[in-house]
Symmetry: C2
Subunit: 162 residues, 2 copies
């Protein structure tokens, strides 16, 4: 049995005690942008209940055009106002460089990715970079309540980046 | 007090009973691509524990260059092999068009987004579109175990798209 099939059995049990539907707009008017890392259960880390916040995730928790797209839709169409960014310790993005990653992909496939891999060397600096990208972008209307954090995978704590 | 400050108090409680760190590579060798919708608590829907799967999320759960970037890093550097895609009923992406969204942003800011908003008219069709984008891309090496689902926000069930 594949992992996917096992998880579908979990979903059948989840549905047994499920009560819905909740409204579409996030109840707490919040969007979270976090790393895809498996250890980050964003709802538990922040104590979020279903229906409270948009959760956007990718490799690194970085801000590219696709996160701007999601944040623009979140704020303009669904009324969110605050943004929380979450990077974390022991992140895979600290372990390689864009040039190295793209060269390995090119060696394997013959094609060099036309996008940046978005590797970074310093967690706090990259959180600041992500905040700066949001603030500099014309399509995200509310940027007065954007705060960035590093999640410590050893302690479970969010530490704010100033 | 802002919502962010309230959630930081939740995080302090989370950290009190936290035990870590877990290993970096996802234990179940799985990556999930899901919509950012607030009602989708992906870990609970699939019965995932911390450390088991990468979770990638955006408006719609669609596949753009940034999801390809995340999936390429997930598979090439961190060993994932299966992919689960999750769209859901009552999705905001069904309620507008790319042209309409971009025109409203342009009317508000004077600038037309250079990216697609990725609105769609049919859930099953867009799940198939996302699977096709992954399969057609040279940078994601393992595409033999990609399956797509629509989460029903009324029942909590994942229904597979064939």
């Amino acid at each position: 049995m594949s992992v996917t099939d096992e998880l579908l059995e979990n979903n059948a049990r989840y549905a047994e005690s499920f009560s819905g539907p909740l409204p579409l707009p996030p109840a707490r008017k919040l969007a979270v942008v976090a790393c895809m890392d498996a250890r980050l259960d964003v709802y538990r880390i922040l104590g979020l209940a279903e229906g409270e916040a948009h959760v956007i995730r990718n490799a690194g928790g970085v801000v590219t055009d696709d996160e701007i797209r999601s944040l623009a839709i979140s704020q303009r169409l669904l009324g969110t106002e605050e943004i929380i960014l979450i990077h974390h310790t022991d992140c895979g993005m600290l372990t390689f460089t864009d040039d190295g990653f793209k060269a390995s992909v090119q060696a394997d496939t013959g094609i060099k990715p036309e996008w940046a891999a978005e590797a970074f060397a310093d967690l706090d600096d990259d959180v600041r970079q992500s905040i700066a990208r949001i603030r500099a972008n014309p399509f995200v209307p509310r940027t007065d309540a954007v705060r960035g954090f590093v999640f410590d995978v050893a302690t479970g704590r969010l530490n704010e980046v100033k």
